[in-house]
């Protein structure tokens, strides 16, 4: 077996074959699943904690502050300290709450984001499952989280929470449409829904360059709708700190709150990862056709670095949006979706189809 940070497919194939050699195929699959689960769990925790830290630092710098700076150098261990604190915080039992649903809600939220990570290609061959309907799967899974939000709002027996949950429901139902259409626009360009093939199709130019204006429009719409789907500012109506105190997770404390909190950041990561994959070529390095030397230099940077750099670039964009804009009102939110994003999106889809049909893209 040869291990390379540029191509993980031989490495994963080696694990598979050595497992299959020592046990029955059923067991091998089970062991592989457990391994992947553990790997994703660790990744989830690290990225979640890092994103919380990054957000706090980014917003602090934008606001002329220092941000966390006491725990560890530059405060890097602040979020770990927070997590430890959250683990020790009392889980406050809520009077007259629907116990089962109340406890179930954070798990639904976190499981939904967990499942989405499985389909994201981190590097060549580093993808838990390469579905042939990858984009479709991601869209379906990432919208499951709203069930958890709705349940949390309903089961909390809190009036603010219920309003927050209802807002979240209305919001996700509408913005799911925009996310979908923006991605469909890109699927039209790519000609496939399989994520590995979408990335392979961007070897000589990322789709945001290949697709010309429609791709840029689709990207803008995707970022807006994706921010809305993760319930982040300026679309954080479900939380709406100044209106509903904390919205759907008002009554949650301790580790259950941490689940919601972590899921929010992971959803942001997933939205950014999809954007990076579909618009910026995922782990594919930046290539220019004909410039072989340049391409070789670009190829020298490992693919997962490319992927993470692109993803965190999009994450930064989302943070930037959050810390600049005031929150929308619920009717403006729906106006923005149905009056602006949706018609533009449909027109954009037609434009892209026309572009692809006439072969005006590269």
């Amino acid at each position: 077996m040869e291990f390379s940070i540029y191509d993980f497919s031989s490495f994963t194939a080696w694990i598979d074959s050595s497992l299959r050699a020592s046990m029955s195929p059923g067991w091998a699959v089970a062991v592989e699943m457990i391994l992947i689960g553990i790997a994703i769990l660790i990744f989830y925790a690290i990225v979640g904690l890092f994103l919380v830290y990054a957000e706090r630092k980014v917003c602090a710098l934008m606001q002329n502050r220092l941000g966390p700076n006491r725990v560890g150098p530059g405060g890097v261990f602040q979020t770990i300290a927070d997590l430890v604190k959250l683990l020790f915080v009392e889980l406050v039992p809520i009077k007259n709450a629907d116990r089962v649903l109340f406890n179930l809600a954070p798990f639904i939220v976190i499981v939904a984001s967990f499942m989405a990570i499985g389909a994201i290609p981190f590097a060549k061959g580093l993808q838990a499952i390469d579905l042939n309907i990858g984009v479709f799967y991601l869209m379906a899974i990432s919208s499951m989280g709203v069930i958890g939000v709705l349940l949390a709002g309903w089961a909390s027996n809190n009036k603010y929470s219920l309003i927050g949950a209802m807002r979240s429901g209305a919001q996700i139902v509408s913005y799911e449409l925009s996310v979908g259409l923006a991605l469909v626009t890109m699927v039209v360009l790519a000609g496939t829904m399989q994520l590995s093939e979408i990335i392979e199709g961007q070897r000589w130019g990322w789709f945001i360059f290949k697709g010309h204006i429609p791709a840029v429009i689709a990207f803008v719409i995707y970022i807006i709708a994706g921010t809305a789907e993760t319930n982040r500012g300026p679309f954080d109506l479900a939380e709406a700190e100044s209106e509903l105190t904390a919205g759907y997770h008002t009554e949650y404390s301790g580790i259950k709150f941490a689940f919601f909190f972590l899921a929010e950041y992971m959803n942001m990561f997933i939205v950014a990862a999809i954007a990076a994959t579909v618009f910026f070529g995922g782990w594919m390095p930046f290539h220019v056709y004909g410039w072989d030397g340049f391409n070789a230099v670009m190829d020298f940077i490992p693919p997962f670095v490319w992927f993470l750099a692109k993803t965190f670039g999009v994450v930064f964009l989302m943070m930037w949006l959050k810390w600049t804009f005031p929150r929308l009102r619920i009717d403006q939110l729906l106006t923005l979706e149905w009056k602006y994003l949706l018609p533009i999106n449909i027109f954009n889809l037609l434009l892209m189809a026309f572009l692809v049909l006439t072969g005006l893209h590269w």
């Binding site: 917003c59 002329n64 009036k159 509903l244 105190t245 005031p326 929150r327 929308l328 009102r329 619920i330």
Partner: protein, 373 residues
């Protein structure tokens, strides 16, 4: 005790939520009982008194110079102007004319107070609407004004700098330099506020035609200050009834006719420019003179009634002192602007959404200790 009249029972199908007394956007311990139908606000009923300290009652047992430190704690963002109101009333009752120096210093400090109050308004208003970054920019710039206060008055927010007959002490030698530095800095920074928030399409859409008050309503409800002026009600006490040094400066009274939340915001933003103009006219020519008139150790007001109103950052503060000739006032009444502005909240927010209620509440810029006193 006679029987209480009960609060109106909400209609059926109304979803009643308690906003406050602990709520991020009620700016203190204001409790709003909000009846909702879905997101639509049907009725808002303010419940106040959570920090009622009985300042009017306390005033009846203390001497006139001692009243001043209580007024700091009413509208704590206009502390200096509140102090000035009491001092002006007492001086008027005693027939004392303070020196020009005192007048000019009082005016400059009042305008600085107004600026820092509007800065905090801008900061918290942005936060009410979900734009958290405004909060830090607003407080960052407010810090400079507070430093000026601290250097000259000794206190940052609770200044207690006025006393009947003048000021507690003379201004600090750095006062003029620091104030000019601040004005120079803030003239450059204020357009940034506009770029970040005023021009923002989300912000404008959220505020325009929200919580509209007509001019007639504003007069009938007694709305003054930026709230009244946004409705086209010319009510600037500085203009109509000048006190201190306001008769020797030129400034515009900011008036808008729309009367919605956005223009209430706009009045405050424009007032910051006007305040800077006023300060610039005065800062370089503070006349020489004594900073305080010689007062008797025990101040006794002649029997009678005295009323003086000043323009605080929020509106007209009226001080009504009834004296029976003793060293303590017989009755003190503060006509506080916030108390008046809270009353029509229901009128403004009926039919609006929850988010609008927060915006309207923010645009009134209520200071709860001033309501409760």
């Amino acid at each position: 005790m006679e029987e209480e009249v009960k609060a109106p029972v909400p209609e059926q199908e109304e979803y009643v939520i308690n906003m406050g007394p602990q709520h991020p956007s009620t700016h203190g311990v204001l409790r709003l009982v909000v009846s909702l139908r879905g997101e639509i606000v049907r009725n808002v009923e303010p419940h106040i008194g959570y920090i009622h300290r009985g300042i009017e009652k306390m005033c009846e047992s203390i001497a006139y110079p001692q009243i001043i430190h209580l007024t700091d704690r009413m509208d704590y963002l206009s502390a200096h102007i509140n102090n000035e109101a009491v001092c002006l009333t007492v001086e008027k009752a005693l027939g004392i004319e303070v020196s020009d120096r005192v007048k000019v210093i009082r005016t400059i400090l009042s305008e600085l107070t107004r600026i820092q109050s509007h800065q905090l308004f801008w900061a918290t208003f942005g936060m009410d609407l979900g734009g958290l970054t405004c909060f830090f920019y607003g407080l960052r710039d407010r810090e400079m004004v507070l430093d000026i206060f601290e250097e000259t008055c000794g206190g940052r927010m609770i200044v207690s700098y006025n006393c009947p007959g003048g000021l507690m002490n003379d201004i600090h030698p750095n006062f003029q330099k620091r104030t000019k530095e601040f004005i120079k800095y803030f003239r450059e920074t204020l357009p940034e506020y506009d770029r970040l928030l005023t021009g923002n399409v989300i912000f404008q859409e959220r505020l325009k035609n929200i919580g509209t008050v007509t001019r007639e309503q504003a007069i009938a409800w007694g709305l003054t200050g930026p709230v009244g002026r946004a409705s086209g009600f010319s009510c600037d006490v500085r203009k109509h009834n000048p006190y201190s040094a306001y008769d020797r400066v030129t400034f515009n009274e900011i008036l808008y006719n729309e009367g919605d939340s956005f223009h209430r915001y706009k009045v405050r933003m424009d007032e910051m420019w006007e305040s800077m103009n006023i300060i610039e006219q005065l800062i370089d020519n503070i006349p020489e003179g004594s900073y305080a008139e010689k007062m008797k150790p025990v101040i006794k007001l002649p029997e009678g009634e005295y009323f003086q109103s000043v323009e605080t950052a929020r509106g007209e503060l009226g001080v009504y002192i009834v004296s029976d000739g003793n060293k303590n006032p017989y009755r003190v009444k503060f006509r506080s602007p916030n108390f008046v502005h809270l009353a029509p909240l229901n009128l403004m927010s009926k039919g609006a959404k929850i988010a609008d209620l927060v915006a309207i509440n923010g645009s009134l810029d209520l200071i709860i200790p001033d309501i409760d006193r």
